[in-house]
């Protein structure tokens, strides 16, 4: 299962990282379900972060999103407020189950003090009631609800006892400060009562309810168990030191990579090398739709001028008079005729000073869309040159962080000719897509071009993946970071998606308005104009 599929299977996860950063200023890695995880598995915390299964069956849309937020906020409350003091040795399974309920309620109560709105987020999942009966699982769920919902008054004496032990006041506002050993004693007392009631408890079928709560293995975890809990393929740092030919190829450029899990840039993390594509025969221009070049050139000329609103001679106000306009206006005025009040002149910035970078995804996954991407690049490169832009064209692929290759099709300042066209069409789809590093390299080169307007167009599906990264969203977050940094430098960043996917990957990286789909060459001028 390629990483992109894991990501697709876990929609709605992207929002959780900023959500937890906002709530508690923490950024635990959030893992999507991995193969082999039960369909009805509970969320769990491990040394690697929060593992979130899909929402329970039947939940969709806003409900599913609310469940994910509830689960993430609950697990985060553990990370903020729980201390891992619980050893399983010598603790009866019933007591363990009750410690779970009490500790869950405790961290939620503490979290609600700072964020009262969390009560509503969690309470909707507490649906236990006396109608559920008086079995062990039902009583546990009813106790969990009684501790989470002050408006819920359970008639069962045992539930009431649990509530009176847990809260210091009748209204359920003041939580007992008990934690660690004291909490375990409280659980032990409640467990004793259950024993008196001859309740049967089967630890094998026991599940923590409601479903948003994690299974608390993190609280109890013994060090030797941690290794086993590691999900397959989830390497904590995302590093891969196998890169086979790393020693053979001298590093050319090192770029940082944004690690969203630690919220930092990893310095000098990716090695980028530039290569000329294998020698190829010169190639004559391919047939293009009639009028395409003219439309593209017109659009690109307009684009190069776009940031300047000062173009145009006559203006209502400006640095000085437009002499002809002033004389016309004065004469008209003397004749008591209507006159054009735009008598000033604004300085005009020279049009056409644009620099563009066409970055083509040549990874294996883009094989199907590559012909269209190459045709679009060919049309664009020619039009950009004709419109007076300084153009660079490169393809890119990667095999791990130490082998990001950029294929130099056209360097800045070179003429777009048959040889360049030959190099372009020599690009072949292979390997992976380390988009962030490729973007940073392209931005670096683009920033060196003297121009008043800089644009980068990515041609491909913007679906970042690489052989040494198994964490969904990691590379997308890195690429997004690169895009935002470029935008802050004033570089226009846009993805032209030639693949037939839903564009969600491009939208995630380039922003909702930062991408457009290209189905045919005819659409290019229209697509370039739209918000570029």
């Amino acid at each position: 299962m390629p990483p992109s599929d894991v990501l697709a299977a876990a929609p709605g996860h992207a929002v959780l990282a900023p959500y937890l950063r906002l709530l508690w200023n923490i950024a635990p890695p959030i893992h999507a379900p991995v193969l082999g995880m039960d369909a009805d598995a509970a969320p769990f915390l491990s040394e690697q972060g929060l593992h979130l299964p899909p929402p329970p069956p039947g939940l969709e849309g806003a409900d599913a999103a609310a469940w994910r937020r509830a689960a993430a906020a609950h697990a985060a409350a553990h990370l903020v407020f729980s201390r891992r003091l619980f050893g399983r040795a010598g603790v009866a399974p019933v007591t363990q189950a009750l410690v779970d309920v009490l500790e869950d309620a405790r961290v939620e109560a503490l979290a609600r003090r700072a964020l009262p709105g969390l009560r509503g987020l969690w309470m909707r999942w507490h649906t236990a009631s006396p109608a559920d009966g008086q079995g062990f699982a039902a009583l546990l769920a009813r106790l969990a609800r009684a501790l989470a919902d002050p408006g819920y008054d359970d008639p069962h004496p045992w539930v009431r006892k649990g509530r009176s032990l847990f809260f210091l006041d009748a209204a359920g506002e003041v939580v007992s400060p008990a934690q660690g050993l004291a909490l375990r004693r409280m659980a032990s007392a409640l467990g004793h009562d259950l024993g008196q009631m001859r309740m049967a408890f089967d630890p094998r079928t026991h599940r923590i309810v409601p479903s948003y709560r994690d299974d608390n293995r993190w609280l109890w975890l013994a060090p030797e168990q941690e290794q086993a809990a590691r999900p397959p393929g989830a390497s904590p740092s995302g590093r891969d030191d196998r890169a086979p030919d790393a020693a053979l190829v001298p590093p050319e450029r090192l770029y940082p990579e944004w690690d969203a899990r630690i919220g930092r840039l990893r310095a000098s993390w990716c090695e980028v090398r530039e290569r000329r594509p294998p020698p190829a025969v010169a190639r004559a221009p391919a047939a293009q739709p009639a009028g395409l070049q003219a439309a593209l050139v017109a659009m690109l000329r307009r684009l190069a001028r776009a940031p300047s609103r000062r173009a145009g001679l006559r203006a209502l106000d400006g640095e000085g008079f437009d002499l002809d306009a002033a004389i016309d206006a004065a004469a008209a005025r003397r004749h008591r005729l209507p006159f054009d009040p735009r008598v000033h002149r604004r300085p005009i910035t020279a049009p056409g000073g644009g620099a563009a970078f066409l970055l083509i995804d040549t990874s294996a996954s883009s094989e199907a869309s590559l012909p269209l991407a190459l045709a679009a690049a060919e049309a664009l490169a020619q039009a950009l040159g004709d419109a007076g832009w300084c153009v660079t064209v490169q393809g890119f692929e990667s095999e791990g962080r130490r082998a990001v290759t950029l294929w130099r099709v056209l360097d800045a300042g070179e003429r777009w000719d048959d040889h360049a066209r030959g190099r372009l069409h020599a690009l072949r789809a292979a390997h992976s897509t380390r988009l962030g590093a490729a973007l940073r390299h392209a931005i670096d080169l683009l920033a060196q071009c003297p121009a008043s307007r800089r644009m980068l167009w990515l041609l491909g599906d913007a679906d970042a993946h690489d052989i040494d990264i198994h964490e969904p969203g990691y590379l997308a977050a890195d690429a997004r970071h690169a895009v935002q940094a470029a935008q802050q430098q004033g570089i226009g960043m846009r993805a032209l998606v030639c693949a037939d996917d839903d564009g969600s990957a491009a939208a995630r990286i380039f922003g909702p308005g930062g991408w457009a789909r290209v189905r045919s060459l005819e659409e290019l001028p229209h697509v370039l104009g739209g918000g570029a």
Partner: protein, 267 residues
């Protein structure tokens, strides 16, 4: 009186509320006593403009404020010729007006203006204290009560001021107020209770955690004041915060959703 006072419109009648967080008022007064040009730097909406208004009121000086933008040129500050029925007529720009008649001139976000604008103010910022009005052929010597104050936001995505310009100024650095001060500001500005003020301030501080991680900046004090005002106008806090904070802060769907969820968790 009004007809003879060209700065009448720029005088501040009532005390603008400003809650000092340190000795910035004394520092401003020290700079004012020597008429030293002053650079205020700090994030958007943290109270720089309000501070200058407050000080102008305190010193009894008119305050000429210019909000600079990318099209602001030297002519916009210095002045220009206009055309009227009798021919051409010179009109002082706000900077020339302040320098001629002795006001505090506040150039808000100077770095946003065109590069030549910063150069135009250079002669006013050294011992010469003069403003050449080249188009008019006049060398304007600044009034003894003239003072120049500029602001600058060194945050993400904003342009930088050139060192040659910065070095002509003394500086005061501003930051978002401490939580307690910020809550006091909300309570005083809008008249909300301490509970709502604390919740809004906590939310504002949370949003600042995403600065540089998707958001250019977190919610400013000004935005929190707006949210409080919407609550005072009868909106539910959650709705007010969505309107006052989420929509202006980001267009990104994911960040909007995260912010909205954090708001839901806060109230």
């Amino acid at each position: 009186m009004d007809a003879h006072d060209p700065l009448h419109a720029w005088r501040i009648a009532q005390e603008p509320f400003y809650r000092a967080v340190g000795d910035e008022c004394a520092r401003f007064e020290a700079a004012w006593s020597r008429r030293l040009p002053l650079l205020l730097k700090g994030p958007t909406g943290c109270g720089k403009t309000r501070f200058v208004e407050h000080m102008a009121w305190r010193l009894g000086r008119p305050l000429v404020t210019v909000a600079c933008h990318e099209d602001t040129g030297a002519g916009d500050l210095v002045g220009r010729w206009l055309l009227d029925a009798d021919g051409t007529r010179w009109q002082d720009g706000p900077l020339a007006l302040a320098a001629r008649h002795g006001a505090i001139c506040y150039l808000d976000e100077l770095a946003e203006a065109r590069p030549e604008t910063a150069v135009a103010i250079h002669p006013l910022t050294d011992t010469r204290r003069m403003l050449p009005l080249e188009r008019r052929g006049e060398l304007l010597r600044a009034h003894p009560d003239f003072m120049l104050v500029v602001s600058f936001n060194p945050g993400h995505g904003s342009r930088m001021l050139r060192s040659a310009t910065r070095q002509r100024f003394c500086g005061l650095a501003f930051d978002h107020p401490q939580a307690e001060d910020e809550a006091q500001i909300l309570m005083h500005e809008v008249g909300i209770d301490v509970e709502l003020a604390s919740a809004l301030v906590a939310l504002g501080r949370r949003s600042r955690r995403l600065a540089g991680q998707g958001l250019e900046e977190g919610a400013s004090t000004r935005m929190l004041v707006r949210a409080a005002e919407l609550v005072r106008a009868g909106m539910a806090p959650r709705e007010a915060c969505r309107m006052a904070l989420v929509a202006p802060l980001t267009d990104d769907a994911t960040l909007s959703e995260a912010l909205a969820a954090a708001i839901d968790a806060s109230f």
